[in-house]
């Protein structure tokens, strides 16, 4: 018998029990959906992180009280550490001398709102008190005007450089440089505009406003604030030496004895990417395990429904056998039905999973991706499940005695 005939027959008998088929398909779909949506999201984030959406500039590492992983903010392990103060920063700079290419202190306030004329930003600005090194340290480009200067910091001038999103929000007609915006009822002259950079790790770099760190402490106070120290090595060759010296310098500033562990974190783009990879790995394993369990459950569902189907259609099987169907033709028909059920589930799960994963990725401002490898794996696994769990019912159907089957009511 031709394969086409078998496919048509299998298709027709699935169509005869639409609800039942759909429910069985849903089981497989959920299993595939869970793995594909998670893998799509992770792949999208990873693609974004590893293709240039970098938080820090090259040859730069950062020292801070907290690791740059937002989930641990509030963790008492980190919270109870002493803040890095402005005085610590000044002493650290003196100790580093000329070793570092630049040292950029950063202190953040993430709940401010900028106003210009009648226009306002959302009250979630990432306001940063910093110095002239900020543009390089955080890998920004200047689109218009200038960066903060040494003098801005020295004289604690009320100037700012605004991110692309802030600029577009407040100055839809352009011409920001030289205008005065207000943040928390204080006036700042716009000295420059950053080019768009996008975001990563749930933050949005285009929502940044940089002001001189000296001005920041005057206007917003220094209580409960900790400085993030970005340090640039002069080149890749001296990177490790600079990093070692910086750690030593900060330990001295903080008065640590040789046996004390560091009470601060050190990280770089590479370590951020590595941290992400390790988290992604754990999430992947979790999604994989959950999906495997879901797919096995769905496979049992397929087997169950196929056994019901074989029993219901005993007489049909008897007729087919009387008319000359061989065992392999009956077996193939039922196997194909099981395979169809699981492949429908696989395809709909992939479509929904990729859609959901990319929606999530878009929300996290990552690139859209299609996880070819995981989709292919999903289809192969589902085929194996369809055939594996469909085999026993199909074999049962194929080996029915035609006389008994014809007599079945």
């Amino acid at each position: 018998m031709l394969l086409v005939e078998t496919i048509v027959m299998a298709w027709r008998s699935l169509g005869a029990n639409k609800l039942r088929s759909a429910l069985t398909v849903a089981g497989i779909m959920i299993g595939i959906f869970s793995v594909i949506s998670v893998m799509t999201t992770i792949a999208a984030l990873q693609a974004s992180i590893e293709t240039g959406l970098t938080y820090l500039g090259s040859n730069i590492f950062q020292l801070s009280k907290y690791p740059l992983n937002f989930s641990v903010v509030g963790d008492s392990r980190f919270k109870n550490r002493r803040n890095i103060s402005y005085a610590d920063y000044l002493r650290f700079s003196r100790l580093m001398g000329t070793e570092a290419g630049l040292i950029c202190p950063k202190v953040w306030d993430n709940g401010q709102q900028a106003v210009f004329g009648g226009r306002k930003t959302n009250p979630n600005l990432e306001l940063c008190g910093t110095n002239e090194g900020f543009t390089t340290a955080n890998d920004f480009q200047i689109e218009d005007g200038r960066s903060l200067s040494k003098e801005d910091v020295e004289f604690s001038r009320a100037v700012c450089v605004v991110g692309q999103q802030v600029f577009q929000r407040l100055f839809p007609q352009g011409g920001a440089v030289g205008q005065t915006i207000r943040i928390n009822e204080r006036k700042y002259e716009v000295a420059g505009v950053f080019a768009s950079k996008g975001g990563a790790f749930g933050s949005n770099d285009d929502n940044t406003v940089a002001i001189p760190i000296t001005r920041f402490f005057q206007d917003f106070g220094s209580k409960n604030r900790t400085i993030y120290l970005a340090v640039e090595a002069r080149n890749q060759l001296v990177y490790e030496r600079t990093k070692g010296l910086a750690i030593g310098a900060l330990r001295r500033v903080r008065g640590l004895r040789p046996e004390d562990p560091n009470d601060f974190e050190i990280y770089s783009n590479d370590s951020l990417a590595a941290a992400f990879r390790s988290i992604a790995g754990i999430i992947r394993i979790g999604a994989f395990v959950i999906s495997t369990v879901a797919l096995i459950a769905a496979g049992v569902g397929i087997m169950n429904i196929m056994l019901v189907s074989v029993t219901e259609r005993t007489r049909e099987i008897g007729i087919r056998k009387a008319l000359g169907a061989r065992q392999r033709e009956i077996r193939r028909q039922f196997l194909l039905e099981a395979l169809f059920l699981s492949l429908f589930g696989a395809f709909s799960g992939i479509v929904l999973g990729v859609a959901a994963g990319n929606v999530l990725a878009a929300w996290l401002q990552a690139q859209m991706v299609f996880p070819w490898g995981w989709s292919l794996a999903g289809i192969l696994v589902c085929s194996a499940i369809g055939i594996g769990f469909g085999f026993y019912p199909a074999q049962k159907a194929a080996s029915l005695d035609p006389i008994e089957a014809l007599r079945y009511e």
Partner: protein
């Protein structure tokens, strides 16, 4: 395929017109602790274009013999040759191939696939014979034409009367040009008027050269046949030609 079989030398010796040759077949079933001897040594020779009725009360071994004749089952012992092929010792799939090529079944309960149209039902034996789709449709339509259902090609069984359903089943039995048509109580589920129409159809098929075996317990049906074989207690009680009307 049937031509190759016709060339076998065994058949030439036994006479080219012998379709079924049964010698001393027995059938035993083990049912729990007891063994049932359903057939206790049957000899039967059926020639091409015979019209044979198999009769007997229930428990006579009638159904067992029908299953045997239809190659749905194999005997415990004895010889069974179908068109010169030894079917007594065949495997399931070989028997399926014999059923597909050589036997057209007509059942009491019609046994049509409920979700398929007349045409699809009649096509089914051709599907298993590997006949290409266009030829299949053509031959199925032709078979339905022969039973007078040309205008019911795309009806499903539940849209047809009992008589029409049995005609579809007969068309399905004819479509593969089998060596025998094996009918099991073909009028059992029909009213007597429709039953007579079906028997007239068998009459016409017999006159057209078909070999027909009808299994029945009704004398009125058996009278249509040219030869009646009566079974009792697993043995042939009598085997003689009828005074055909």
């Amino acid at each position: 395929m049937p031509n190759e079989i016709a060339m076998e030398p065994r058949l030439a010796r036994s006479g080219a017109d012998v379709v079924i040759r049964i010698e001393g077949i027995t059938k035993r079933y083990v049912m729990g602790a007891t063994t049932v001897h359903a057939l206790k040594g049957i000899d039967l020779l059926i020639r091409r274009n015979e019209y044979l009725a198999v009769m007997g009360p229930s428990g006579s071994g009638k159904s067992t013999l029908m299953n045997m004749l239809g190659c749905l089952d194999t005997p415990t012992s004895g010889r069974y040759e179908f068109n010169g092929q030894d079917v007594a010792n065949m495997e399931d799939d070989e028997l399926a191939a014999i059923r597909n090529r050589e036997i057209g079944f007509v059942f009491q309960t019609f046994n049509l696939l409920p979700r398929s149209t007349s045409l699809q039902n009649v096509e089914l034996p051709l599907v298993y014979a590997g006949v290409p789709a266009s030829e299949r449709r053509h031959r199925a339509a032709e078979a339905l034409f022969r039973v007078g259902l040309m205008d019911r090609l795309h009806h499903k069984p539940n849209e047809l009367s009992g008589g029409q359903r049995q005609r579809v089943a007969i068309a399905r039995a004819l479509v593969n040009r089998p060596s025998i048509i094996l009918a099991d109580e073909p009028t059992g589920n029909l009213d007597s008027q429709t039953g007579r129409e079906i028997m007239t159809l068998f009459e016409n098929l017999h006159e057209g050269g078909n070999t027909i075996i009808v299994v029945t317990h009704e004398e009125a049906i058996a009278r249509h046949a040219r030869r009646v074989v009566r079974l009792r207690d697993g043995k042939i009680e009598s085997d003689h030609a009828t005074a055909h009307l």
